[in-house]
Amino acid sequence: MTLTHYLTLGAIVFLIGIFGALTRRNIIGILMSIELIFNAANINLAAFNRFLHPQGVAGQAVALFFITIAAAEVVVGLALVLAIYRNTDTVYVEDFSLLKG
């Protein structure tokens, strides 16, 4: 396993995340895709730390921060989904069209 392998994995996960976030219609699906992008960043950070910059653990520390922040963000997202589901009974983005112009 070399750095290239990890970076390729990271890039693939990143692209899957981007594709999912742009094409999914279900909000939960979009949230999952966004998590994938965050995880791609974490894979990159850990791999760079291990192979390119083995002195110090800055990369892994940053990855820990990202994991925490992503979790916090998803909590808020799910709360919003719950609030909107109570009012409209749907989690599909194409049904949200009150605001336009």
Binding site: G10, F14, G17, I18, A21, I27, I30, L31, I34, E35, I37, F38, A40, A41, N42, N44, L45, F48, N49, L52, H53, A58, G59, V62, F65, F66, I69, A70, A72, E73, V74, V76, G77, A79, L80, V81, A83, I84, N87, T88, V93, F96, L98, L99, K100, G101
Partner: protein, 482 residues
């Protein structure tokens, strides 16, 4: 950890905000207004703390730590706190906000402000990211604070989806930057930027540009602004925007100067696009909140011109000064406009209007409350950049800096955009002065709205006629640390 005392303002604001959150449990809902008063007093105390660190003459050292406290960041911190105070005053008069969760509302608002204060000081991408997330997560909740209002829900959800997406991409960008340089620190970047680093920086630009509502990343702006409670809209349209522009400036023109990585042409394109899209879309809006949302996109474009001028190799400091000056004036004129909009919409909603924020709600405002109509007209004219109001001074400064650094085309685009913007700003004035009102009742303006409006209008008029003290303070604030 040197000079930790310089971070006292942030510590104070953050811990008092947490205190507000806890006190929400102990304060009865009918006394909820008390917490709003407490919150704006906290903001003013923090403002005073910043004042002390300035008069202290303390060092502004950021090397070896994550942050730099310099006149540049102090200036923006003060502006952010000023915006917070004015928005809280608006919140006191906003009926839709339940007094039941006043503690949560005010605490989130102060948290977002603390995040912005960190953002403008940050010299490390990790701190930048965390500060940005602190702002984002707080403002997602604030946008959706009217839980029973489907519009508020929808605005918050759209804001959240775009926000989370762009911050995830920014995280990926930071990982690439880390790979290229071996640290997230922006100070003393010595490597010649390779493709990895440039790609990383572009992703980071995307994340920051989203918060500053720069053109290709502006889609959330009208929806989030329309759905959010009006005090939150006023807050979001000013504070995160200027804070992010400051962060963009620090990262892309001060930390990574043009001699190292020349993104001038990219920023020129973004500035022109942002102004044009903002202004030309605003023309077709019939909802005043949406109109002001697009106008705020355009205003971000004008500020980007200053950024371009400051970032040009061999560029002068006038670009930085222009951004500072314009941010200050922007706070006054935009908050002033939103105060009047809130007063009118509250009245219209009470009268049972279908769309309290529609242009029709402003019909005949001049005959109902001449003072309010005049105040809104002043703010709008200032946003359009008509002399002798403050907005003109700001635009003049920015366009001049663009011309001096050789971006004549950009200055011309900005000028054309200003002319176009007069049309839609004056459409509101047309409704106010020349349309027949449904009722002749004067608009009631509560004491706090009155105070906020007075401050805003004073800023717009005084600094338009007599800008010298403002320009002097801006010139002394343009100093920054490498």
């Amino acid at each position: 950890m040197e000079h930790l005392n310089l971070l006292y303002p942030e510590f104070a604001l953050g811990s008092l905000a947490l205190g507000l959150l806890v006190s929400d449990l102990f304060v009865a809902p009918k006394h909820g207004r008390l917490l709003y008063h407490l919150a704006w007093i906290i903001s003013i105390v923090t403002l005073c703390l910043i004042g002390f660190t300035i008069s202290d003459g303390a060092h502004f050292q950021g090397v070896g730590t994550l942050w730099a406290v310099d006149p540049f960041s102090q200036f923006f911190k003060m502006l952010i706190l000023l915006t917070t105070v004015l928005s809280l005053l608006m919140g006191l008069e906003y009926r839709e906000l339940p007094s039941k969760h006043a503690g949560i509302f005010t605490s989130l608002l102060l948290m977002a402000s603390a995040g912005m204060m960190f953002l403008v000081s940050s010299t490390d991408l990790l701190l930048t990211f965390i500060a940005l997330e602190l702002i984002s997560i707080s403002s997602f909740i604030l946008t959706g604070f009217e839980r029973r209002n489907p519009k508020s829900n929808e605005g918050a959800l759209k804001y959240f989806l775009f926000g989370a997406f762009s911050s995830a991409i920014m995280a990926y960008g930071i990982s690439l930057f880390y790979g290229a340089t071996g640290s997230t620190r922006l100070l003393n970047v010595t490597q010649a930027p390779g493709p990895l680093m440039i790609l990383g920086l572009l992703f980071i630009l995307l994340g920051l540009g989203f918060k500053a509502s720069i053109a290709p990343m502006h889609f959330w702006v009208p929806d989030a602004y329309e759905g959010a409670p009006t005090p939150v809209t006023a807050y979001l349209s000013v504070a995160p925007k200027i804070a992010t522009i400051a962060a963009l400036m620090r990262i892309f023109t001060l930390m990574l100067p043009a001699s190292m990585l020349d993104l001038t042409s990219l920023f020129t394109l973004l500035a022109a696009l942002t102004m044009t899209i903002g202004n030309f879309t605003a023309m077709f809006q019939t909802n005043v909140k949406r109109l002001l949302a697009y106008s705020s996109v355009a205003q971000a474009g004008y500020m980007l011109i200053g950024l371009v001028a400051a970032g040009t190799s061999g560029g002068d400091v006038r670009g930085i000064e222009g951004v500072l000056l314009y941010s200050f004036i922007y706070v006054a004129m935009n908050i002033g406009a939103f105060v009047v909009v809130q007063a009118v919409a509250t009245e219209a909603a009470a009268a049972g209007a279908k769309d309290p924020y529609g242009l029709e709600a402003f019909n005949g405002l001049a005959r109902r409350s001449f003072g309010l109509a005049l105040a809104l007209t002043f703010c709008l004219l200032s946003l359009a950049g008509i002399p002798p109001l403050a907005g003109f001074i700001g635009k003049l400064y920015i366009f001049e800096s663009a011309v001096k650094t050789g971006h004549i085309g950009l200055a011309v685009v900005g000028l054309v955009n200003s002319v176009v913007s007069v049309y839609f700003y004056m459409r509101i004035a047309y409704h106010m002065f020349f349309k027949q009102a449904d009722s002749a009742e004067p608009i009631a303006l509560g004491p706090y709205l009155y105070g906020g409006l007075a401050v805003a209008i004073a800023g717009v008029i005084i600094f338009g006629i007599y800008p010298e003290p403002l320009i002097a303070s801006v010139q002394s604030s343009a100093g920054f640390l490498p």
